[in-house]
Symmetry: C2
C-alpha cells in the first residue's frame, strides 16, 4: 500500500501508528537516525507535523519507537523453526540476520550504536534485543552438546557481539563472500561454546 | 605527585596538559564521561576554568583527549612480551585488560560506547584502538597455526568485540571467577581463529 492510497483510508490510531513506524524503519535504509527528523517523516507520510505529534510525544519518543520496531523486525525475521537440524537452523537465522543488516543498515546501526548515546530507553531496547537473540542459543544448548552455566551464557552473549561486529565490518567493507561469512560465523558458535 | 605539590612546580604546557589528562582518566573511575565537566576537572586540578581552556579548546575537545588517553593507557598496559609463549602472552594481556576495565570502568565504557554517540572523532579513537588490539593477533597468527586471510582478520576483530562484551557483562555482574573468565577467553581465541 502506498502512502498516497493510505491517506484516503481511515485507519484506527493504532494501525496508523504502526504504519508510521514501518515507514520510519524503511526511511532508515537511506539515512541515519539523526537524519530521520519528524518533518521528514511527516512529509513522507503526507500528514502534518502536528498530527505526527498525536502519535509520538516528541522526537526522542519517535526515535525510540522506530528503533524498537527495527528490533522487533530483526527478531521476527531471524526466528527459526525448532524442528530443523541445529546447524541448518543457525545458518538460516544468520542468513536472515545478514540480509536484514544489508537491507536496513542504518536501522541496524541505530539499534546497535544507539545504545551508546547515553539514552537509557535505547540501551534497554538494545539489551532486550541482545538478550532475546542470546536466549535462542542458551535455550537450545543441548543441540551444541554443552551444559548450561554462567560461563556458557557469557560466551553466548559474547558470540552475539562477535557476530554483530563481524557483520557490521563486513557490510562496510566486504572482503569475503557472503557465503564465506555465513560458513565461518556458523562454525564459530559451537567452537566458542565448547571453550566453556 | 599530588595535585597540591604540582601546583607549586612550574611545568611546561605539554607536561601540564599530560597531567590534566591523567587526572581526567582517574576521575573517570567514579563518574561517567558526561559527568566529567570542565568545572570538576578545574576544581580537582586546583586551576581556574579559564586556564583549563588554555589546554583544551572546549568540553568536546577535552573529552576526546581524555578518551584518547584512556585508549593509550589500555594499549600500553596490555602490551605483551613477544618472547613469551603465545598462550601465556595472551593470558597475561587479557589479565591486564580485565584489570584495566575493573580499575577504570567508566573510562573503558566511554571508550567503547563513546563511539556510538555520533561523534566522528570518538569513533575514530575507538576504531584505532580496536584495530591496534586486533593487529596484535593478526601480526602473530603463526602462533595460532593459522594463515592470514580476510576471514581470519574479520574473526580476530570479532573476537575483540566478544572479549569487550564479555568483560563488560562480567564486570557489571560477575557470575564466574576472574580465573574462570580468563581461562575461557584465552581458550576462545584459537577456537575462533581455527574456524577460519
Amino acid at each position: 500500500m502506498t502512502t498516497t492510497t493510505s491517506k484516503r483510508i481511515r485507519l484506527s490510531p493504532d494501525a496508523r501508528r504502526e504504519q508510521l513506524l514501518d515507514l520510519g524503519v524503511r526511511m532508515l535504509a537511506t539515512r541515519t537516525l539523526e537524519e530521520l527528523s519528524v518533518d521528514a517523516l511527516a512529509e513522507e507520510a503526507g500528514i502534518s507535523r502536528g498530527l505526527l505529534f498525536h502519535y509520538f510525544k516528541n522526537k526522542q519518543d519517535f526515535h525510540r519507537a522506530v528503533v524498537q520496531r527495527a528490533a522487533d523486525d530483526l527478531l521476527a525475521r531471524t526466528r527459526s523453526d525448532p524442528s530443523h537440524e541445529p546447524t541448518a537452523r543457525l545458518r538460516l537465522s544468520l542468513t536472515r540476520y545478514i540480509d536484514y543488516v544489508l537491507a536496513n543498515p542504518q536501522a541496524y546501526i541505530s539499534l546497535v550504536r544507539g545504545a551508546a548515546g547515553g539514552d537509557e530507553a535505547m540501551l534497554e531496547i538494545f539489551d532486550r534485543t541482545r538478550a532475546a537473540l542470546t536466549a535462542r542459543i542458551t535455550d537450545n544448548l543441548g543441540a551444541y552438546g554443552v551444559q548450561d552455566s554462567p560461563t556458557v551464557r557469557l560466551l553466548a552473549r559474547g558470540w552475539s557481539a562477535m557476530v554483530e561486529e563481524a557483520v557490521l565490518s563486513w557490510a562496510a567493507d566486504p572482503q569475503l563472500s557472503k557465503e564465506e561469512l555465513l560458513r565461518v560465523l556458523t562454525a564459530t558458535l559451537p567452537a566458542v561454546l565448547a571453550a566453556g
